[in-house]
């Protein structure tokens, strides 16, 4: 308990990095709550986007419990635990692929039937084309290979760098690049882009 209290105390000069928190949690499990408070919201939003809010509470809890159980294996050279936690979350999401795909299907259906709430003609046109784009996007996401989708969404929704994606998913940098390339190609086609320029901006 003293460790936890000490770590939380305001007189701790710098904010301890994630590795320091995990190290402390090896002696005192309660310190792990610091990590929870740092990352639970980000993980929750990401999980809610992919699985729906009704599944997000559970899967985030499971992520932290799995992380907590494996914390003695955490490589303390990595000061930032975000990729590690998102890697665990990604695996748990993979176990709920059916829920994820059902969510995407529901999203594209909801769009098709959503009433237009504005009488202005230009707004109507805008809405219709946005809805069409959205439907195409959802279809593209659904059609992606799961590994490609993991990479795309970590980059697009969490601003992960290539290296962070590689660390999170335990894959090589080259694999991150090729998966992202494939996923973007697919989305680009779904959006009706006929003149793709291959961006490969390194983060």
């Amino acid at each position: 308990m003293s460790v936890h209290t000490t770590m939380l105390a305001d007189d701790v000069g710098a904010r301890p990095d994630d590795a320091a928190v995990i190290r402390a949690s090896l002696g005192n499990g309660e310190c792990f709550s610091l990590l929870y408070d740092r990352y639970a919201d980000q993980l929750f939003r990401y999980a809610a986007r992919r699985l729906g809010p009704e599944n997000a509470d559970d899967v985030v809890s499971e992520t932290f419990l799995a992380a907590f159980r494996r914390r003695h294996r955490y490589d303390l050279n990595y000061l930032d635990a975000r990729p590690w936690l998102f890697g665990i979350l990604t695996k748990l999401i993979a176990g709920r692929r059916r829920a994820e795909l059902a969510r995407y299907r529901a999203l594209s259906r909801a769009d098709a039937t959503e009433p237009v709430d504005d009488g202005l003609a230009s707004r109507v046109a805008e809405h219709v084309s946005a809805a069409a784009a959205r439907t195409g996007l959802v279809r593209a996401l659904t059609g992606l290979a799961p590994g490609d989708r993991d990479v795309l969404l970590l980059v697009a929704w969490n601003d992960f760098t290539y290296q962070e994606v590689a660390d999170a998913l335990g894959i090589k940098l080259g694999t991150v690049r090729s998966r992202l390339h494939r996923a973007r190609e697919r989305v680009r086609k779904a959006l009706g882009d006929t003149n793709p320029i291959d961006f490969d901006e390194e983060k």
């Binding site: 090896l26 809890s61 419990l65 335990g170």
Partner: protein
């Protein structure tokens, strides 16, 4: 670029709540207790105490000779060191094979008593961190078939003060149960559970089959051989294995490449033994199994640093576990 922006904007339209509910947070944080040895939800180290039946003289002689001839030059002669490690592991397998197998009642409990140590850290004002090795006396009761709730008691080594008490839920018909036999509250109340049996009757009893089992059941990002060694440690820590199963584990490890003879060590309980290690180069650590130097009974395990880290030097112990007693009892809290 456009497609990434489109995916990003699409994502933003899906957002609702900003984070987990306070209840979910509360339930999750309630699970964060204990020290790092546990690799199963709050279920501490599995382990096996020395079954201190004196083995025949031959094995003891082999180890004695190995210690004298190899330990000193271990770092310069890794192949000899690995051969020596395999010899000791085979002797440990033979020791187990000679032990009697008790009758095992699935309704009873495995009791394991041990001394375990971990590095405890404290962040001090001014950004410094203090590290110290913290030894605890552990008593754990685990349901043989996993259906009943178990109990973990811990206190500082040598302390006569009160025990820190942690209830370990059991799992019956897919539902968690507490020590009172009633459904347990926990983070995944609604979810179905899987029982964690302290004894698994279907584990291989032959070294070759056990070796395949270890490789097939290894999960983790370590090199395969290293992971197999770690999996073996996880398999025997604070559990009961029959002599045939435990012997198969040691026999299997004798054929896992990469092990080395560490040499004579004194464990956390003050007993002298011989350690067999598997270096984990990427982490700068080594996992050791410790055996009685004469009988080859399994005494426990430890994790040693192979690179300096913070206040620690290479060679310092980062965690350890010395098994004192393993027995079957009728209920949690009962001493054998």
């Amino acid at each position: 670029m456009r497609e990434l922006t489109a995916v990003k904007e699409f994502g933003a339209t899906l957002d609702g709540a900003d984070g987990p509910s306070p209840e979910a947070r509360q339930r999750t944080l309630a699970q964060f207790h204990g020290t790092a040895r546990s690799r199963r939800a709050g279920w501490g180290r599995l382990g096996h105490p020395g079954r201190l039946v004196l083995a025949g003289g031959l094995a003891a002689v082999v180890t004695g000779a190995v210690l004298v001839s190899q330990v000193v030059s271990i770092d310069h002669r890794p192949p000899a060191s690995q051969a020596a490690a395999a010899q000791i592991l085979r002797a440990a397998a033979a020791h187990e094979a000679a032990q009697p197998t008790p009758k095992i009642d699935p309704g009873r409990f495995v009791y394991v008593e041990s001394i375990g140590s971990d590095v405890e850290t404290r962040d001090l004002p001014g950004g410094k961190t203090e590290y110290k090795l913290n030894a605890k006396h552990r008593r754990i009761w685990l349901s043989v078939d996993g259906s009943k709730a178990g109990l973990l008691l811990r206190r500082a080594k040598g302390s006569t003060g009160p025990w820190n008490r942690i209830e370990l839920p059991g799992c019956k018909n897919g539902k968690k149960v507490g020590l009172d036999g009633r459904p347990a509250r926990g983070v995944d109340d609604a979810a179905t559970c899987q029982p964690h049996a302290a004894f698994q009757a279907d584990l291989p009893t032959e070294a070759g089959a056990m070796r395949r089992y270890l490789y097939e059941h290894s999960q983790g990002d370590n090199p395969r051989d290293v992971q197999a060694f770690i999996t073996a440690g996880d398999l025997i820590r604070e559990r009961y294995l029959t002599p045939a199963q435990l012997g198969a584990v040691f026999g299997a490890l004798a054929d896992v490449p990469g092990t080395k003879l560490v040499g004579a060590v004194t464990d956390e309980a003050g007993r002298s033994g011989v350690a067999i290690g598997m270096p984990e180069d990427a982490r700068g650590t080594r996992s050791d199994l410790i055996f009685d130097a004469h009988t080859h009974a399994f005494l426990g395990e430890r994790k040693t640093l192979t690179r300096a880290f913070a206040d620690f030097q290479a060679g310092d112990v980062a965690s350890s576990s010395a098994n004192l007693v393993t027995a079957f009892v009728d209920r949690p809290g009962q001493l054998p």
